[in-house]
Structures are given as C-alpha cells and as structure tokens.
Symmetry: C4
Subunit: 282 residues, 4 copies
C-alpha cells in the first residue's frame, strides 16, 4: 500500500514537472525542452546543407541520436504520468511529438524518412504554452477568431479566384503557346496564380503583344482583388477587437420593442418578465 | 387528354430532377453533374499536357465524347422540361452550358476550337447553387455588394493608374531604350504595370542608373497606391457587414451589474427603476 | 458697332462649343476631341514599335500632322474665345495642351523631342470633365481628400522607408559584394526597395547564406510595413465616407460643457449666447 | 569670477546654437548640418561606385575629411556645452553621431570599416527634429503608437509565419531537390518566404508539377495572410485616430435647420426649447 502511494506520488511529481511550469523543476524542464527543440530543428537544417553534412556527418548524427533519445524518454514519461494516456496520445501535441521522434528510428528501415524530422518545427508552438505567454495567446486567439469568422467569405473568394485562374490560364495557353513557357494548361494556371498573387517569378513570362495585354489585365485584376481578403479580415478583426473592448467596458444585452402595458416604456430585455420602469408584469 | 397529362407529369418530373435538389433523384442528378463537370475540366487540362496526350489520347478522347454526349442530353432535357426555354437559353448558365458543350462537335469543322472546352470551368459555379450553399451565397452576395458599391471608385482609380502607366512607361522607354528590353512604348507600359502592381517578373529590368531611379519611384508609388483599392473595399465591406448585422440584431442597450434586492437578478438597464424580472423597485 | 456685336456673338458661340457641353455642337466637339486624343496616344505608341514604324512610317506621320494641326487650331481657338487667355494658358490643362501640341513642330529643330508626345496621355483626364462624369468626379474627390489627409503620415512613412533602405542597402553591399550584382551602394539601395515593396525582379538576388538571411528579414519587414500605408488610407477613407454620409444625414455642431447658470443644462453650441433650454443669457 | 561668467555665457550661447533653433544662428547651424549630413550620405554612395571612385577618389576623400572634421568638432562642441554630457553621449542621437564620425579615423587602422559610414543615414532623422516638423512628428507618433499596440499580435503572426515557412520549406526541399535550386532546407525556407511575401525573385522556382502545385498553395496562403498584418495595423490605427480625434474635438450633437422666430439663427439642438442666441422661446 505504501509502495503504491509513493508510486502515485512519483507519478504526480513527474506530471508536475512535465505538464506544469509552476515549480522550479517544471520551469527548468520546459526551458531545456524548448532549447532542445530549437537545436533539433537547426540540426535537420544543417544536415540538409551538403558541405556541412559532408564535414560533420558523424557529429550531427550523434547529436540527432541524443535528441531523439531525449524525445523518446520524454514521450514515454508523458504517457506514464498522465491518468488518461489516450487523451494525450491523440491530442495535437501528442501526434506532433510522436511524428517528430520516430523518423530517425524509421530511417533504418525506410530511406528518406529522415525528412520527416522537419515536423519538429511544429513543436516550436510549445513556446507559447510553456512560456505562459498568456497575453500572446490572447492575441493569437483574437487572430484565430477573426480568421474563423472570415472563413466562409475567404473560401468563396479563393474558389472564385481558382475558377478565374482556370479560365485565364487556358486563355494564356492558347495565346502564348510553347515558346514562352506556357507548355500546358496546368502550367498556364500556375503562371496565372503566380501573376494574380503578384508573386511574379519571371520563370515564365508572356512574349507576344496579346499575351502581354492579357497579363496586364490579370495583374490589374490581381491588384484589385488583393483588397478583398484584406477587407474581409480587417472588418472581422475590427469586430473582434470591438467585442473584446465592449466585454471589458461593460455588458450589453439585446432589448426588444415590446411596450409595457402599464407605462408604455419600450426596450425590455428579451427575458424580462416585469417592466424595468414601473415594475408591472409584462 | 390522358396522354397530355402524363406528358405534363413526365416533364414536371424531369424539371424537378434537373432544376431542383429537394428529391433524392434531384440530389443524385446534381452530384453526378458536379462530378462530371470536374472530370471534364481535368480532361481538358490533361489533354494539354503533351506527354499524357501522346500516351492516352484515345482514352481521353473517348471520355471527352462520353461527357459531351451527357452534356448534350442534359442541355436538351433542360430546354424540353422548362416552360419558357428562351428564359433558360439566354440566361448566364444557359450560355455557359451551350458554350461548354459544342466545342467537340465544332472541332471537326474548325481546328483548335477544342480550347473553348476550358469554358467548362465556369460550370463549376453551379457548385454553389447545387449544394444549397445558402450561407456561402450570402457571403458571396455581401462580397458582390461591397465590390458593386466600390465600382465607381475603383474605375476612377484604375483609369488614373492607366494614365500614370502610359506617362511613366513612355518616360522609361526614352530613358532606358533597347538594350534593357524597353523596345517600344507598349512594352514599357507593360513593364510599368508589372512594377506598379508589385508583380515584378524581371524579364525586363532597368539597367541604367537613371532608369533604376525612376523604377524606384514607380515602386514606391505602387506600394503607396496598393493601399487605395484596399481602403475602398474595406470601407465598403465594413458598411455592408454593419448593415447586415444591424438588420439581424436589433437594438442593444447597456446593462449594469446591479442586483435586484428582491429577486437578485442582474443586468438591468442603466435607467431602470424597477426589476425586469420581479417588478420590485430598485 | 454692329460688327463688334456680331464678333462678340461669334466668340461667345465658340466659347460655348469648346468650353461647354450643353449644346449639341458642344457635345459633338467634345466627343471628337476625346476620340482624337485617344487616336493620338495610340499613334505615339505605334510609332515606337520598330516593325510598324518601318512599314507605315508615312501614314503615321501624316496622321500625326492631321492631329497636331487640329490640336493647334483648338489651342488657338481656346485662347481667342476666352476673356482672360492667361487664365487658361497657365492652367493645368492649358500647359498640358501646349506641351502635347508643340513636339512635332520642335522635332524639326531638335531630334528626339517627339517623345514628348507621350504627354498627350494627360489629356485623357479630360474624359472625366467632358463626359460630365459628376458621380465619378465626386468619387475621385473623395479619393483625393483621403490621400490629402494621409499625405503627412505617408510622407513620414516614405521618409522612414528611404532611411531604412539606405541602411539595409549599405549592409547588403558589404555582405554580398560584386558577384551577386550588388556592385555599389545605390544599386544595393535599389535592390532593397525592389525587395521591400515585394516587387522582386530577380535581376539581382543574394547568393551568400548571410545575404539571404538579411534578405529574409527585409522581406518580412516589407510584408509587415505594407500594412502601414493601407492602414492610413483605409482609416482616412473611412472618415471621408462617414463625413460624406453625415453631411447627407444632417448637420452636427460642436457643443461645450458650459452649464447654464439658470437651468443648469449643458451642451451648448460654442457660439451660443443664450441657453437653448430656458432662454436665459449665458 | 568674471571669466567664469563669460565662460558660462559662451557655453550657453553655443548650447543655444547647437541644441536649439529659435535664434537665427541656431537655424543657420541646423540648415548647414542637414546639408552636410545629406552630402556625407551621397559621398559614401559615390565612393561605392567603381567608375566614380576611380576618377574622383582624391576629391571624394578630401570632402570626406572636411565633413568628418566638421562632425568631430560638432560632436566635441555638443559634449562641451551640455551640462550632463553623459545624457547626450548615451542617447540615441549621441551614439549615431559618434558611429557616423569615427569610421574614417578607424579606416587607417582597420580596412573596410569605411562601410560604417552608411550609418550616417540615421542622422537624417534629425531633419524631423531640426525643422520643427511638429505636425509630422505627431503623425509619426500616431504611427508609432499603432505599431506598438499591434506589436504583440504581429509577433505572434511572424512567429507562425516562420514555423509555416520551416514546414513548407522542408516539404519543397523533399519534393523539388537539387535541380530546381532547392539545394538545402535553409535555401528552401528562404524561397518559401520569398514566395509567401509575394516578392518572388525567380532565382529559384519549382519545375516539377508537384512542386508547382505546392508553390500555388503557398502563394494563395501568402495572398490570404497578407491581409492579417494589414487588418491588425488598420484596426489599431483606426483606434489611435479615433482617440486623437475625440480628445481634440469633444462632444458633438445633432442640430436642425429650424430658425429662431426672433433672431433667425439656425442650428439649434433637437431638444432645444429656447434660442441659443437670443433666448426667446422656439
């Protein structure tokens, strides 16, 4: 019985260190974790640079293993010390954690799976949670709400942009043809989106006068419609901010136009049963 | 008489299937139609890719014919089952439907008319109507209203941009000349719009110091005026949203946190003298 | 005396035709004028295209002379029929008119002055005035007011952007050097503005890792500050629109917090000498 | 004692000339200073252009020395005539002043330090202070406040953009590989940011269909999220402007066009019972 208790105590202690950041140990664990996440992302980048990988391959691989082992231990610890492991395993962070840990193991079976290591960058999102950046999270949630509220409008907008791109891309394919690089309709659509979004690589560019004329129209259209998502998000964002402000400043409720039968006053709360002015029943 | 009646019944049944989506049959018809529209757009794209067309030309052509025949039957059926065919034939969708059906037939008479098949992409707009995406349509109509309301302002703006482009394009033609690719005034105007809209292909770029100086000014102007359409649409869009909101929501008044001494209810109007819930004096 | 009178009548008749558009003759004159302006702009463009100029040089030159003579007559007529010629000569349109007429004459003295013909594009601005596009002019004036109101803010902004560009351009010159095309500080500043404004020609692009790192920062900064002019113009534009709306809806005046000594009412007009409530002297 | 007094007078006189701009001497000093700052920035630029430096090296160097000596004297004078030199030395302008003066001296010890001369551009910020551009400074501070208020939101946004860029960059590295120029993950991340911010140099561009498909998605995402910082800054800026307006303007009430029957004055409050001008009953 005593053993069970101490065991429970050991688990809850670990839980405190890993999942919380109120104790000194918990804070240290979080800082080390963030540090290792950043290191691991940098390692993946360095490995991808030929010159560096050629010179320091062994060191990089060794460091990779150190971090992978730490991440493995961390992942197992997270499962052990939580009461409902499934809750963690199938959470967003749980999936990111496992995906950013296994690639090195899998790389001995499947070549090329090491590239999955890049998923580790997702772990950087922990920074916000760990550093208790509540203020920042508040800001992010306001951003998220604004984007959520504009989702339907932006979907309609992107759908319309895609259809326009298909039409204009096909037109450019007919007008310009092979020479200018418009070798197929999908390529032309790709070019149309490159132009509409004002990216303009220049790897493909119209060379015939009529092609350049159409390109000019596409650019002006793109310039005009760049305003649309901005307008949508700005308006939504303005609303979000106003809501946040009014929530702070006081509460507002909806009132109806029902008039009191006794005093004739209007503007009662929807759930009012008595007149706020004379007190008679509504 | 009976025949006429059954004939009428058969027509109205077909009308229900083709033009409405409330019956199971009508829904199935719509889903099959959208599926075929998407397939037909993809077919046109695949045919434009040389490698794929070379390998699978016969399969693609066969599929093309299947879809064209289906579209033909659909078009005829739409005309038969509607009371006023002219109403449909000269509607936006009527014209799109015929334009996206005939090219394959015409391709036996006129070479190259197959490219018109790209018009099929317009049919994708049906998705909104068919899937009863009322919410999305509402959003789109709000977008449309905002764009409609800003039409006059954006026309003035685009006209001014065009005149500025003609002036600056001519200037660049004089300053840069042949070597840098500014071979004629229209080309220089094309380049000016590429720069003003921040697309910047780089196929033509100034090489003389004075040309680069003017280009810098054009870029800064473009950067500044990119704000204008955005400002216009945002303001109009804000108005549209406000109208929609106020139409939906009615009037709101400020309520305070004062609790009724009798019933304890909170949320009274600031000017309330009686509780809205129990009617006792506050 | 009679001659003088008829002369006066002839002048005022001409004035009506040229400067006004209320009579049928005035309308016809304006439509012909716009038509000729557009033709003359197109002529200048066509002449700049080598192939077309080589083939049709004589026709183009003849048409050029026809238009120049018409413009010359129009200019003289405008001076004759107005009471105060200086008023017209030194106006915006007066200067544009003379500048867009003389180049062909001057081209016989100075070679290359023909390029000034491009100034004719400015004449296109007449379209707005001639076609009595009052509604459009109203929109344009609203645009102009918004841009005027944001002038100070945008000047500060552009000045700051220029200083940042000088600093970052110098930095890139040091970091990248000759090979990547950063051959001098002015060129590097040019490149920095190309990047900051998200134009991105790609004629010059960083090739060293540290150069690409700085470029990344410049891009993100540019992406961030693209918001600033947009924000300025949107806010100003929103105010302009609101003003226009409130001007339509009724008048608002400023009231102060001075209380009436007799009845205690506040909210008097700044220029009030009596209380609006009880009528006693303030 | 008398000497000390005259010494004090001499110092305070110098202080007046250097730090203030109310006396004619002070104004002249400031104008000369701005002129020299601009000259010095132009000198640095000219020196960086090979052709110009080769021809006029000695003249440029001589001018450089003249300006450096003037700046040195100015710097010493600023320290002498101020009561608390440390206050100036460690201020923003103090540090800029020393950094923009010493490079020429240091260039005799360390080669290449001359490039630090570009820091002089910072001195241009003095223009605002010297020319007493209070109105402009007010505008700038409003800009600064708006940017300050949106700092947290923009930090969150840029952090999210960076993480997305790391993920997408890694993906493009895997998909495109060496041939298209995606030689390492950092290069791919650089390309992703070039695309996301719609700069689009085109020095690196996807060539495989799947790479172009991902690029299309990145562009559309970039096009969408370009709205986010704009939305943030616009909303914040709108708030700043509103605050500034309401602070300046007080309260406004609606007035009608009803004329007083006694004095004929218009513009009474809607709830007025007496004329605000003569006090007679309305």
């Amino acid at each position: 019985m005593q053993i069970e208790k101490s065991d429970k105590g050991w688990k809850s202690k670990l839980h405190e260190i890993i999942y919380e950041a109120d104790t000194p140990m918990g804070k240290w664990f979080d800082i080390v974790l963030i540090f290792l996440i950043i290191i691991s992302v940098i390692l993946v980048m360095l490995e991808s640079i030929k010159d560096i990988d050629a010179k320091y391959h062994n060191i990089l691989l060794a460091l990779e293993w150190v971090i992978t082992i730490f991440f493995t231990i961390e992942y197992i610890a997270r499962i052990i010390c939580i009461k409902k492991p499934a809750h963690y395993i199938f959470s967003f962070y749980g999936i990111i954690d496992v995906l950013s840990t296994i690639p090195l193991y899998v790389s001995y079976i499947l070549a090329g799976s090491q590239v999955l290591l890049a998923i580790r960058a997702f772990r950087l999102l922990r920074v916000f949670r760990i550093l208790k950046l509540v203020r920042f999270l508040g800001e992010a949630s306001q951003l998220k709400n604004a984007l959520k509220a504009s989702r339907a409008k932006i979907t309609v907008f992107l759908f319309a942009v895609l259809i326009v791109s298909v039409i204009l891309g096909s037109l450019m394919y007919i007008v310009e043809g092979e020479e200018a690089g418009f070798t197929s309709i999908p390529i032309s659509i790709y070019w149309t989106i490159v132009t509409l979004t004002t990216v303009g690589y220049g790897d493909i560019a119209p060379i015939t006068p009529q092609g350049q004329a159409i390109a000019t129209i596409i650019m002006l259209v793109g310039y005009g419609i760049i305003a649309v998502p901005t307008g949508i998000v700005t308006v939504e964002f303005g609303k979000q901010t106003k809501n946040a402000t009014s929530a702070k400043e006081g509460t507002y409720v909806h009132v109806n136009t029902q008039a009191c039968t006794t005093c004739g006053k209007e503007g009662h709360r929807d759930d009012a049963s008595h007149c706020y002015n004379c007190g008679s029943k509504l």
